[in-house]
């Protein structure tokens, strides 16, 4: 019978003043981190009038999650999940601010167009023409694959992600990042390149021929197999043991890893609560799992402590990335 806009990702809702007001909490739980949020106060009598129903907002803590009203209807209780607080509001004196945050008007505009939204489906034969391996000029390869009727993209060693059609040729990867394919006809050949649109920067990646694509496809299927069977990459434990040995001696080896990883080494080591040299001798190494991000994860025990070690090994046997916790 009515729909009224509020802030982002509303969760709690309650009714006040004998049914005249409806209050909802904007959790903003997917985007806000621990920033303070608001409650929106709506006029129940105007609930079908969209933005007109919004009376104002009340400042609250981070991730407002649940509300309750006292039996005498004079007090509103609110839990702020993110702030770890209980907020107690006097219903007769609610501190309502009539200056609305801009997202409420934006959400009202989005609601006005909601009936126009339809799922975009792209012909499976066209999707098939997009699959392949594309090489960026200076960076990683881009692997486009088809899983059922879902197109996926894998950039370098990053995890494979579903990409979602905005049109026949434009696909959404993540906020600020889209992949654009050239227009091709169904069943008529393959895309020869893709354009990565990344926050104002366009990178063209050219299709690799079958021979050049093979090592990437093999690495992709080998990883999929290792993830399924939960087996580490051959050589990852040896590379990790060598790296730890070098670090304990204070002599990290730049040949063991790529340049980016070597550059990140000092920063990574500084994060550790105990310097690696002070942990004592290495006692045991236990393979934990192949993480969803593609890392081999090991639990490493020392005489005086332990570490969780994530390692990504490149096709050339060098450490492409690692993390120590």
């Amino acid at each position: 019978m009515g729909i009224a806009p509020v802030g982002d990702a509303p969760v709690p809702v309650t009714v006040l003043d004998k049914g005249q007001k409806v209050v909802a909490g904007n959790s903003n739980r997917f985007a806000a981190g621990n920033a303070p949020q608001t409650l929106v106060v709506l006029d129940a009598g105007k609930i079908s009038e969209g933005l007109n129903a919004v009376l104002g907002v009340i400042p609250v803590g981070a991730f407002p999650r649940e509300m309750a009203v006292s039996a005498d209807r004079r007090t509103l209780f609110l839990t702020n999940f993110g702030s770890k607080t209980l907020q107690v509001l006097d219903i007769a004196h609610l501190p309502i601010d009539t200056n609305l945050p801009p997202e409420i008007a934006a959400n009202a505009a989005a609601l006005a167009h909601r009936s126009e939204r339809r799922e975009i489906t792209v012909d499976g034969k066209i999707l098939n023409g997009y699959t392949g391996v594309y090489q960026t000029p200076d960076g990683p390869a881009l692997l486009i694959a088809l899983n059922g009727n879902q197109l996926t993209a894998k950039i370098g060693m990053q995890p494979e992600m579903n990409i979602l059609p905005e049109s026949d040729t434009m696909f959404f990867l993540r906020p600020g990042m889209q992949i654009e394919f050239p227009k091709i006809d169904a069943g008529q050949g393959n895309a020869d390149q893709v354009i990565l649109h990344q926050t104002g920067r366009d990178i063209t990646a050219k299709r690799l021929d079958d021979a050049a694509a093979k090592p990437f496809l093999d690495a992709g299927s080998a990883f999929a197999k290792r993830l399924k069977n939960q087996t580490p990459a051959p050589g990852s434990e040896a590379a990790m043991r060598k790296m730890i040995e070098d670090l304990q001696l204070g002599k990290p080896d730049s040949d063991l890893m790529n340049a980016d990883s070597f550059a990140a080494l000092r920063r990574e080591l500084e994060r550790l609560p105990t310097p690696i040299a002070q942990l004592g001798s290495l006692q045991s190494v236990t393979f934990t799992e192949v993480g969803p991000g593609g890392a081999d994860i090991y639990h490493v025990k020392f005489e005086k402590g332990s570490l969780d070690y994530r390692i990504w090994l490149g096709p050339d046997g060098k450490i492409e990335a690692f993390s120590l916790r």
């Binding site: 009224a4 969760v11 007090t75 209780f77 209980l86 989005a110």
Partner: protein
């Protein structure tokens, strides 16, 4: 008009007007009620907005009827510190009195109408806590708990007015569990008290009774594939354009409470589209409307409860 002593939110003036012949007796009763209150627990705080720090992230809050105590479910910090925070409230001042530790992180909490039992939906368990022992400072006020052994994501709990039936929504279990609360209180808090499960779509949460107690409304975050609802919602994450549509709307689901007691599997009598990812619900004082937050529509939807009755698109049972 008959003169009934309303158990909930009775209003002195309204009662006096309705029941003038009983005015004298009522006046005495109300005086006694006032004397029974040692302090003005319900008094609002001096500030219109007061903030009380808690030991870990709170999920839900429920005050006692007299306003003297507030219970808050605490989800803990990385596996420790989960429990019920017990806060004492008096003359506008609220202080943390104790935390009753629980093994499983509590989320939704509800009090029985006899005010003696707090029930917590707690991720993989339903936990029962004795209220007088909790506020009296007794060492272990937890009376019992049970789990059906699976990670069902128990998230909300609500109890019928007569305290006979308990409903627990299972966010990961696509169901609402029906529990014979009267039996559990008499014979022990075990899975024997479970009557059955109501199929409630994907990620059910809210549990709101109609004012006459006949219906229970719940929310389901997205329609199941076999409902054949069109896709109308974007994935629920920041920064995704509205043009990307991958999920159907969620629903308000109507449950017949009497049927739920006997035949939970067939207790759903209606489901209506309720925007993208509906997650919570509130009912108007007259019960004529329910309001639902649609988390992925950034909106509040209002429904006329008179129209939320059994619908023709429901599969026939029997």
């Amino acid at each position: 008009m008959s003169c009934i002593w309303l158990s909930e939110s009775w209003d002195y003036n309204r009662l006096m007007a309705r029941c003038s012949s009983y005015a004298f007796a009522l006046a005495i009763a109300l005086t006694l009620a006032a004397q029974a209150r040692p302090s003005e627990c319900d008094a609002p705080a001096a500030s219109p907005s007061l903030t009380i720090p808690l030991p870990s992230s709170p999920f839900a809050v429920t005050p006692t009827r007299d306003g003297c105590w507030i219970f808050v479910s605490l989800t803990g910090n990385g596996g420790t510190g989960a429990g019920i925070a017990v806060l004492k409230r008096s003359r506008g001042i609220i202080q943390l009195s104790r935390v009753v530790p629980l093994k499983s992180a509590p989320t939704g909490i509800t009090l029985t109408h006899d005010r003696r039992l707090l029930v917590a939906a707690a991720t993989n368990a339903t936990i029962f806590i004795d209220v007088p022992r909790m506020i009296g400072g007794a060492a272990d006020p937890v009376l019992g708990s049970f789990s059906d052994g699976r990670a069902t994501g128990s998230i909300y709990a609500n109890i019928t007015r007569n305290d006979k039936l308990l409903f627990v929504s299972e966010e990961s279990g696509q169901s609402v569990t029906v529990i014979d609360l009267k039996r559990a209180r008499k014979k022990g808090y075990t899975t024997d008290a479970i009557i059955g499960k109501i199929p409630a779509g994907s990620a059910p949460i809210a549990l709101t009774f109609s004012r006459n107690g006949k219906w229970l409304y719940t929310t389901s975050q997205a329609a199941l594939p076999d409902w054949n609802w069109p896709k109308a919602c974007k994935p629920e994450a920041p920064g995704i354009p509205d043009s990307i549509v991958t999920r159907p709307e969620g629903a308000v689901i109507v449950i017949d409470v009497a049927r739920a007691r006997k035949d939970p599997a067939h207790a759903v009598v209606a489901r209506v589209p309720a925007g993208c990812s509906p997650v919570r619900m509130a009912i108007s004082p007259d019960g004529d409307r329910i309001y639902v937050t649609a988390r992925n529509s950034n909106a509040v939807l209002a429904f006329d409860t008179a129209k939320l009755l059994p619908t023709r698109d429901m599969p026939k049972w029997g």
